[in-house]
């Protein structure tokens, strides 16, 4: 990126009209990927001068224990529901979860889920890191996930969405092919990097369960309705040029007892519709990159 410039120069303007057609396998119109965040939050992390880990004095009992619900209860309920309807996860992973609670990572790996890095912990932020420090978390991520799962990570979602001006260049240099940190499009798009080849994978802030429940204050059924509307629109538009729909989740939210059944209706709807390529983020990236015109 152009550090300090008003336009960071991340990508070219590529208007929605008249793009070369993106074709998904089997003539599907929309690639749907579900992205559970499998995270670990520390109760008393070191302080980053640019951002507090917890809004309250430590211990932030509710903040920490709400998120810990994910690993004791939520993940298992969410994973069962996804598996029942044929959805594999593409995991944004706090890689330290491999050390703390390997059972969760092993379960996801055994289900055929893909892993990409979401930093070491969701309580450690990139703000203010120098290049060596940032390289250390990328190298740690690659090594930790490889040792725990046998997978080589292909994507990145910055820990707690904290970046430095060099993050995208560095992950491309390490051979990663996609970033989930840019929200400017409904299709994969090339990102300008110093070396390597990086694309932006459509993720979503707006239909993230956290935004649904805690920014827009939706009821569980309102959130499910939102996802179905999002899906219907993208599936229809994707007939002309393939689209991508991401459903980013946190099991401490979506797998709460009052929410999981409403969400299950969304999975049923998409699975039954027939227009969706239900897949994983890395597969979308690979397919897109293999198509003509997907170069830098």
């Amino acid at each position: 990126m152009n550090e300090g410039a008003e336009d960071p120069g991340l990508y070219d303007f590529n208007p929605w009209r008249a793009r070369p057609k993106i074709e998904w396998p089997d003539g599907k119109s929309v690639a749907v990927w579900v992205s559970p965040n499998l995270e670990f939050y520390e109760l008393d992390p070191a302080a980053n001068p640019h951002r507090k880990s917890w809004p309250k004095p430590h211990p932030d009992v509710v903040g920490y224990s709400h998120r810990d619900y994910a690993n004791r209860v939520g993940h298992w309920r969410m994973a069962e529901t996804m598996e029942k309807h044929g959805f594999k996860g593409s995991v944004s992973l706090s890689v330290a979860l491999c050390d703390h609670i390997p059972e969760v990572v092993e379960n996801a790996n055994a289900l055929g889920w893909e892993f990409f890095s979401h930093g070491i912990y969701n309580t450690r932020y990139s703000y203010g890191m120098d290049e060596a420090q940032e390289r250390a978390i990328i190298e740690d991520s690659i090594k930790t996930v490889r040792e725990a799962t046998g997978q080589t990570i292909r994507g990145w979602l910055a820990p707690a969405l904290t970046h430095t001006p060099r993050t995208l260049d560095l992950i491309a240099e390490y051979g990663l092919t996609y970033t989930c940190d840019l929200y400017h499009d409904d299709q994969p798009q090339p990102v300008h990097v110093k070396s390597g080849q990086l694309i932006s994978m459509p993720y979503s802030i707006e239909v993230n369960d956290h935004y649904g429940f805690f920014v827009y204050n939706m009821s569980p059924r309102d959130y499910a309705d939102t996802l179905i509307r999002q899906y219907e629109r993208l599936a229809a538009e994707g007939e002309a040029c393939g689209t991508v729909m991401c459903i980013p989740l946190h099991s401490y939210l979506i797998a709460q007892p009052h929410r999981i059944r409403a969400f299950e209706e969304v999975l049923k709807h998409i699975a039954a519709d027939g227009r969706a390529w239900i897949t994983r983020s890395g597969d979308i990236a690979e397919h897109y990159l293999a198509q003509a015109g997907a170069g830098k």
Binding site: P59, H100, I101, A132, T164, Q256, P257, H258
Partner: protein, 307 residues
């Protein structure tokens, strides 16, 4: 630009949790719980009965729901009192109609000021949980250990003196604790606390003074969260509780589950909302797997199958 090098040291990166209070556990791997009632879902109605001084204290923090305008904030002071004088009685009647034993988390100041309300709670067969002294009795890191110890002691002593029974359970204001709270509660003889929200069943925590049970009272399934914070209707609140019940009833083939419903008299006890609660309780009372239980009943029901 660079961060302090220690920012990349992870001293607690290890197998298990990053603290020593409790071990990780998967709810599906624990020995299944059979509730004493033989039903699948223990339903805990959990009311917060609170007294807000019109002179709010901001140390260590101002309690949620506390005074908001310049002194004297008659609006919020009296609206909270409405809950205690009127709304709570509507709830007691609704519990009686449904045949429900509830849990009432009470500020000691309520017992001190309005002893007859404690007599009504006891006569209704409900359990009292200690809920600090009054809504200025907040706890967070930084509070002096002796001050916190005295606050816990005063709350328990007052509630015991007025109700005739020493509370076994505790809930902090806003669930906020200091690093010392679990130990101080254990030292004070409290059996269980209702602050941490990381499970659908109680589990055990270790403190230097011995162990204490934590009963996760789901903070999302509260009328304050759904109605006041998220601005949803009382009917939507009731629908979300019914959905949660249905999920737990199905999951109870794997072992007993626990549905907790936190209620606030000045929120749910209002005339235009109370019927949503009454209808919900009547519905729950008809469900074949529902067992109205206090948090103490639930703690007794999991004896021997913790963690």
């Amino acid at each position: 630009m660079s961060l302090d090098p220690t920012y990349l040291e992870y001293k607690r990166r290890r197998r298990g949790m990053d603290q020593d209070l409790y071990p990780w556990s998967n709810i599906n791997d624990r020995p299944p719980i059979a509730w004493p009632s033989g039903k699948g879902v223990a339903v805990a109605l959990f009311v917060n009965l609170e007294w807000f001084p019109i002179t709010p204290a901001d140390k260590p923090f101002r309690a949620p729901g506390h005074m908001q305008t310049a002194y004297p904030d008659f609006r919020h002071y009296t609206a909270r009192e409405y809950g205690t004088r009127i709304g709570f009685y509507r709830m007691l009647d609704a519990f009686a109609t449904a045949g429900a034993r509830a849990t009432i988390a009470v500020n000691a100041a309520i017992a001190e000021r309005y002893p007859s309300i404690i007599a009504d709670i006891v006569a209704g067969g409900h359990e009292i949980v200690a809920h600090s002294t009054d809504m200025n009795g907040t706890i967070a890191t930084g509070i002096d250990e002796d001050v916190e110890r005295r606050l816990i002691q005063d709350s328990l002593d007052t509630l015991e003196r007025v109700s005739g029974t020493r509370p076994r359970g505790w809930q902090s204001i806003a669930r906020s604790q200091s690093w010392n709270t679990p130990r101080l509660l254990t030292e004070a003889g409290v059996t269980y606390m209702c602050d941490w929200v990381n499970d659908d069943l109680p589990y055990e925590m270790a403190t230097p003074a011995g162990s204490i049970i934590n009963v996760p009272v789901n903070h999302e399934l509260s009328d304050r969260q759904i109605i006041t914070v998220q601005q949803q209707s009382a009917d939507s609140f009731a629908e979300q509780i019914r959905d949660a019940y249905a999920l737990f009833a199905d999951e109870s083939v794997r072992g007993g589950r626990m549905l907790t419903i936190q209620l606030t008299p000045y929120v749910m006890g209002l005339p235009f909302r109370i019927s949503a609660l009454e209808t919900l309780l009547e519905w729950l009372a008809r469900q074949p797997q529902a067992w109205f239980a206090s948090t103490g009943d639930i703690v007794d029901g999991i004896a021997g199958v913790r963690n």
